[in-house]
């Protein structure tokens, strides 16, 4: 199938992009790498009259350190993030997860911002953003705002982004204390779309007690799922030993209400979520060390 006809507008700056959004309104759609949008265009699930291509907005292509955390421009290619030593050192969770997105050709073209804005419930990057407590920097003609990832994903593939707004950057703030993280997903055959995935991050204070936990789950709801609420009560202020982490994974498995589909029943998804949560929490606790690592 072919997309419905549209006009193509290539913009060179954030200002031009915001102006184009204002000019063309609700009938326009922003295009980043295109790997989420073009399939939707092809099956005519979306039929914009104007497609605004951000691919040449060079000011949104960067990875830099800011206040000890990472700031990544929304148009940065996933492959560039994967190859970045800054990312390896300062957000190992992101590095670990991004390698598991699709294939090389997908990460060559796909952008970090595009994957987050599309809020795919099976997407690696939304789960990581939730677990790492990412902050999403957004600009509209009415001004700038910064949103927490957990508040950004509002369910069913939607986000808190207004139509006339643009995601500028994704910030992965530094965590205090000893920090550990792990990402794991399960896909039949070991590649391609996962059934369930878990991004876990936790920090431990000087006394060896859990002081913060982030848990983002893929494939257990109609949106990227923040499961920290289910585990935080059990883990906070406790020593992260095996028994406590298993309890936390059980609590997460009880808190989710996955759907059944051809790839897995609700019971199977709950089983995977419990197992992967337990494994990732144990690995994260086991490798916790002062952040950032140098």
């Amino acid at each position: 199938m072919r997309p419905s006809p549209f006009a193509y507008i290539s913009v060179r700056s954030v200002d031009e992009a915001l102006q184009a959004l204002a000019d063309y309104g609700e009938e326009s759609k922003l295009l980043a790498g295109g790997l989420s949008l073009v399939p939707l265009l092809n099956v005519r699930q979306v039929r914009p009259r104007h497609v605004i291509d951000l691919g040449r907005v060079d000011e949104l292509n960067y990875i830099r350190l800011q206040d000890g955390g990472l700031m990544i421009g929304a148009l940065t290619r996933q492959r560039t993030v994967e190859d970045s030593m800054l990312v390896r050192d300062h957000c190992p969770l992101l590095y670990e997860a991004i390698k598991q997105i699709g294939y090389v050709r997908i990460r060559n073209q796909g952008t970090i911002g595009g994957a987050i804005v599309h809020a795919d419930p099976l997407g690696e990057l939304p789960a990581v953003a939730i677990a790492a407590g990412a902050r999403l920097h957004v600009r509209g003609l009415r001004g700038d705002r910064v949103l927490d990832a957990v508040a950004f994903f509002t369910g069913g593939g939607t986000t808190a982004l207004a139509h006339d707004e643009l995601l500028l950057a994704v910030e992965f703030p530094a965590w205090v204390g000893s920090v550990g993280s792990r990402f794991r997903e399960f896909s039949p055959g070991g590649s391609g779309y996962a059934i369930v995935g878990v991004a876990a991050m936790l920090s431990i204070d000087d006394a060896g007690l859990v002081q913060r936990i982030g848990l983002g789950l893929m494939g257990v709801a109609d949106c990227p799922f923040d499961a920290a609420f289910a585990a935080a009560g059990l883990l906070h202020g406790r020593t992260p030993d095996a028994a406590v982490l298993t309890q936390a994974a059980d609590a997460v498995a009880t808190a989710i209400t996955p759907n059944s589909d051809l790839k897995g029943s609700a019971a199977y998804r709950r089983h995977l979520a419990r197992t992967l949560t337990e494994q990732t929490l144990k690995d994260a606790a086991g490798q916790a060390r002062p952040y950032p690592m140098h």
């Binding site: 199938m1 072919r2 997309p3 419905s4 006809p5 549209f6 006009a7 193509y8 290539s10 295009l31 295109g34 790997l35 073009v38 399939p39 265009l41 092809n42 009259r49 104007h50 497609v51 291509d53 691919g55 492959r79 699709g102 294939y103 090389v104 050709r105 997908i106 060559n108 073209q109 055959g189 070991g190 590649s191 391609g192």
Partner: protein, 158 residues
């Protein structure tokens, strides 16, 4: 509403310019506008890998990239691999090791392997298989493709 726009790009070293519908994919542009039918279109969802081309040296699924997104870029397709009658070492290796049967997936695999071997010298079988997981071949069972990639790694001076 103007649904057409002009694009100019370098394809296999040749500069081309056309006015095309904005909704045209890069794969369709290569095949229909430039008659470069070596790039094959399989699933049209970015999953099968048959349409893989290099865009500014990086492999992309040309079925999911609009031709307009490639405006101003350099595109390499399978047609640009051989030097006249001389096969590229990767092509030579696939020929020697019988790394293809029907050939539908081959052009996409060659582009994937080209990028992979440029970055990786002396890859393990495991690395090769992980790379090829993104290119679906329903004939060969992959054994000879893996052998061909190993041979290409040895034959290609890069």
């Amino acid at each position: 509403m103007n649904t057409e726009n002009a694009v100019m790009m370098t394809v296999n070293g040749n500069e081309v310019s056309r006015t095309i519908p904005a909704r045209r994919s890069l794969a369709e542009f290569l095949r229909e506008d430039l008659n470069l039918t070596g790039t094959h279109v399989g699933c049209e969802q970015g999953v099968c890998g048959a349409c893989t081309v290099l865009l500014d040296g990086r492999s992309v699924p040309s079925c999911l990239v609009l031709a307009s997104q490639a405006d101003g870029c350099a595109v390499s397709t399978v047609e640009g691999m051989a030097n006249g009658q001389d096969l590229h070492p990767i092509q030579q290796a696939f020929w020697q090791e019988h790394g293809l049967q029907c050939g539908f997936c081959t052009s996409g695999i060659l582009m994937t392997v080209y990028e992979f071997l440029l970055r990786t010298h002396g890859p393990s079988e495991e690395e090769i298989r992980r790379t090829l997981a993104g290119n679906i071949c329903r004939c060969t069972g992959y054994q000879n493709i893996v052998k061909a990639v190993m041979a290409a790694d040895r034959m290609w001076e890069r």
